[in-house]
């Protein structure tokens, strides 16, 4: 069988962007603006870049407006540092925050739609963890397009890329990176639609494949967020950083797991337990519903663990309520029309009259492919991989550390997208194309032949669901050493079962089961390093919470690097946390030491 799989098509380009969401296409647009005529190929797993997961971000994007007398970049840097539980890299935080507003203007001036005030200025709203004057009062720092800010940004990014003359390769995935003398020279892609393999040589390759939320059972992430580039990076022998840093969003809608934005709480939505008590007052007396996400998520899970949850019979999921009944009709009908409508559409509930069921849901991966502040992929804390870049949720620079503030992700996408685009332009200046290596694709063909030739029993979808249940139960909001040790054993068993499954069809063309088989390997690998990272980190920090080690510990003031070329055999390394703002010792630097994270 193996001999039947081959590189069917060979392409070459200046820049290969793998993943065409907000980050990948902002990067591509920058390259095309700086280098008109550059040949940029953007690969997307979905049917068209507009379908990317960036489109689902709702509530807003933050940036410090220089004309706002109440805001200051230092406040935003402080919020991000504190929110990260002192594990973001301060050089990255500074760089992103300082350019935020200018880059927002880039989007506005290229046609992104923002909600305006009567006078025509951009409207703003508050978001959890964003403050003025170093935590004293909530800050109005997030601009938005109603409750579809991510879609607006995604639209602008793909439109600009189209305008710049980009070429899209749709419904295709990255299966293997190609190297020559330690330099990345392109990749092997699998085109699902054609069932063919494409060999691409490129002067620079940018990874922007998004998150890996499908590792968990209860998630707001789309069906395609399976951490593909992270798995490919591991197979190439490179590390993933802070894999254990996973964010759980407080308010996923029970059933479909759709995100109900934080904006619902910033507009006055109240969380209540089965006794209808507004329980956040007990957990975060000052910020209540607007405390950072991990704190609200743990409060909700604690209520459920203490028997204060409500069981939904249809989905057999326990949940708490969000009470939106007191919100004015204007908020339901205009301001948050789409989110409010989700409850009606997906659960047949009228949020004006009825309580709405919500449960904490996996939402975001702070960890990812380690990069420098320019998006250069690192093979160790000291060394980069020439020619290879990463940006967006799949990457970790790290702007978010162990907990991301709401609206900071969209900010990261388009600022880092620009920075990486700039660095790529420099890099390709003197770059030359290399021939496709003779053995290009061999690893991919071995892997896919294994899938196509397996002859045992079992179902890919069922194994995927079992893994997701396992991860939500044992490596979710509350984590414990012994349970995670069990989880790692279970993952090995699941992987063995996956190896046996005979596919229903042996064709490569639009064989979704074949792609899902490949995704399952990616997911299992990600699940393994998330669990191992969480197991070794014997402390609680941001989104990573250990029942058996409930406090942050200075012993773990570092980023975890996890390498795994053979399933289950994980090698760990470290990268230090950049504290350059603190070390520079300027005005306000005292706010950037290792501070307690209390709200």
């Amino acid at each position: 069988m193996a001999h039947m799989l081959k590189v069917n098509t060979t392409l070459s380009c200046d820049v290969l962007v793998i993943g065409a969401g907000g980050a990948g296409l902002r990067c591509a647009a920058e390259i095309l603006e700086q280098r008109p005529g550059a040949k940029v190929l953007a690969v997307t797993k979905v049917a068209h870049p507009q379908k990317s997961h960036t489109s689902t971000a709702q509530g807003g994007v933050c940036a410090v407006d220089p004309s706002d007398p109440h805001d200051n970049p230092a406040y935003h840097m402080f919020d991000t540092w504190k929110g990260s539980d002192c594990s973001a890299d301060q050089n990255v935080v500074k760089k992103i925050v300082e350019t935020g507003w200018d880059q927002l203007m880039w989007l506005e001036n290229r046609g992104m739609h923002f909600t305006r005030l009567e006078g025509g200025e951009l409207g703003k709203r508050t978001f959890g963890g964003h403050t003025s004057d170093f935590g004293k009062v909530s800050s109005f720092r997030a601009v938005f397009d109603a409750d579809r800010t991510g879609k607006s940004m995604m639209d602008t990014c793909w439109q600009e890329a189209v305008k710049g003359g980009i070429t899209f390769i749709s419904q295709s995935v990255l299966t293997e990176l190609l190297f020559s003398d330690g330099r990345c020279i392109g990749a092997i892609l699998f085109s699902e639609k054609e069932g063919e393999f494409i060999g691409v040589t490129a002067k620079a390759t940018v990874l922007a494949t998004g998150g890996c939320g499908q590792v968990f059972r209860i998630t707001t992430n789309c069906r395609d967020n399976t951490g593909d580039a992270l798995a490919v990076i591991l197979r190439a022998g490179f590390p993933v950083m802070d894999a254990e840093a996973v964010q759980f969003h407080p308010t996923g809608i029970v059933g479909p797991g759709i995100l109900a934005s934080e904006a619902l709480r910033s507009e006055g939505g109240i969380l209540r337990n089965r006794d209808l008590e507004p329980f956040m007052e007990r957990y975060a007396p000052k910020m209540k519903e607007l405390a950072p996400r991990d704190i609200v998520s743990r409060a909700m899970e604690s209520e459920i663990r203490n028997g204060k949850g409500v069981l939904n019979p249809d989905h057999n999921i326990e949940h708490v309520w969000i009470d939106l009944r007191e919100l004015p009709d204007y908020v339901h009908d205009v301001k948050l029309k789409e989110i409010s409508g989700f409850f009606k559409t997906f659960a047949n509930i009228d949020p004006k009259k009825e309580l709405c069921p919500v449960r904490s849901s996996n939402h975001y991966h702070m960890g990812g492919i380690p990069t420098t502040e320019f998006g250069e992929v690192q093979q160790s804390a000291e060394q980069i991989v020439p020619g290879l870049f990463a940006v967006g949720e799949c990457a970790s620079a790290s702007f978010h550390g162990f907990n991301r503030l709401g609206t900071n992700s969209l900010l990261e996408l388009f600022t880092m997208g620009k920075f990486v685009g700039e660095r790529v332009c420099d890099y390709i200046q003197d770059g030359a194309l290399t021939e496709l290596p003779k053995d290009a694709g061999e690893a991919t063909f071995t892997q896919f032949s294994r899938y196509l030739e397996a002859s045992g029993t079992g179902n890919i979808g069922v194994i995927r669901e079992e893994m997701r249940n396992l991860m939500t139960a044992k490596v979710g909001i509350f984590r414990k050493g012994d349970e995670m040790a069990e989880a790692m054993e279970s993952l090995k068993e699941l992987r063995e079962r996956a190896e046996a499954v005979a596919l229903a069809g042996r064709t490569t063309r639009m064989n979704q089961e074949l792609r899902q088989r490949w995704e399952l390997d990616n997911l299992l690998e990600l699940a393994m390093i998330i669990t191992r990272g969480a197991y070794e980190r014997k402390e609680s920090r941001g989104g990573h919470y250990r029942d058996d080690y409930t406090e942050r510990s200075e012993e773990f003031d570092y980023h975890t690097l996890a390498y795994m070329t053979e399933f289950g055999s994980v090698r760990l390394g470290k990268r230090s946390i950049d504290m350059s703002i603190f070390e520079a010792g300027g005005e306000h630097s005292e706010y950037f030491k290792m501070i307690p994270r209390k709200y």
Binding site: A47, Q50, N109, P256
Partner: protein
């Protein structure tokens, strides 16, 4: 306890390897607020892993799961079992791919091809109007935006194009036309001529028969026909329009 339904899905299938087309029936018991994408997933997990179907975000924001159910184009992620039973008055549903592009396999169509029309409509700002002096951005009043805001919510699911009674071969299609109309109404766009040329071309809006099928099926409840009607009247607002 929630009521369950005994559901039958008659799904139109296509195998590109043999070029065979057939209808396959799947039966299952389903809870009242399961969605059609949940049903497809259950078919893959419990009955037939080979059935191909499209979806991504699964909450009505990406437009990847458009299918025809009993003849109506809709998003499979938004169709709850109990609503489907009520709307169509049956527990048996015929599920087909939408007809806006060639079928790749089963319910998956080649949306990349369908999108070529949207790209042709140039959804970006072709030429940015100059900024007012000493401003970093355009001050647009909510009232100005309100005229076209609804059209910006389009996710290009192509349900409108599937429902459109004009021939897909001759008409650029409701969503692609709307992508251009939005920019004609957007005060930040200076290039109006090129857009008008496209809208009034052979594949332009006069191919539209004003059946309003587009508005009727739009999952985002955008009144697509309203925007096409504005374009037919040349009423784009601002300096170029009559309002």
């Amino acid at each position: 306890m929630a009521a369950n339904y005994d559901i039958t899905l008659d799904i139109k299938r296509y195998d590109p390897d043999t070029q065979k087309t057939w209808v396959q029936s799947y039966q299952m018991e389903a809870g009242r607020i399961l969605r059609f994408v949940d049903l497809f997933r259950r078919i893959n997990n419990e009955q037939d892993p080979s059935l191909a179907w499209g979806s991504s975000c699964e909450h009505g924001q990406c437009g990847s799961c458009s299918v025809r159910v009993n003849g109506k184009p809709l998003l499979a992620c938004e169709l709850l079992v109990e609503n489907a039973v009520e709307e169509f008055g049956t527990t048996r549903f015929r599920v087909e791919p939408i007809g806006v592009a060639p079928v790749v396999r089963d319910l998956v169509v080649d949306l990349e091809k369908a999108y070529e029309r949207v790209h042709r409509a140039k959804p970006y700002l072709i030429k940015r109007a100059p900024l007012p002096p000493s401003s970093s951005y355009y001050q647009l009043s909510p009232k100005e935006i309100e005229r076209y805001e609804d059209a910006t919510r389009c996710i290009n699911c192509f349900c409108c194009a599937d429902a459109c009674i004009s021939s897909h071969k001759n008409f650029i299609g409701p969503n692609a036309a709307m992508a251009s109309i939005v920019r004609l109404m957007d005060p930040r766009e200076e290039e109006k001529e090129e857009r008008l040329k496209l809208l009034y071309s052979e594949e332009g809006i006069y191919r539209c028969h004003s059946s309003k099928a587009c508005s009727f099926v739009c999952p985002k409840e955008i009144d697509v026909a309203h925007f096409i009607a504005l374009a037919k009247e040349g009423d784009f607002g601002g300096d170029d329009g009559r309002s």
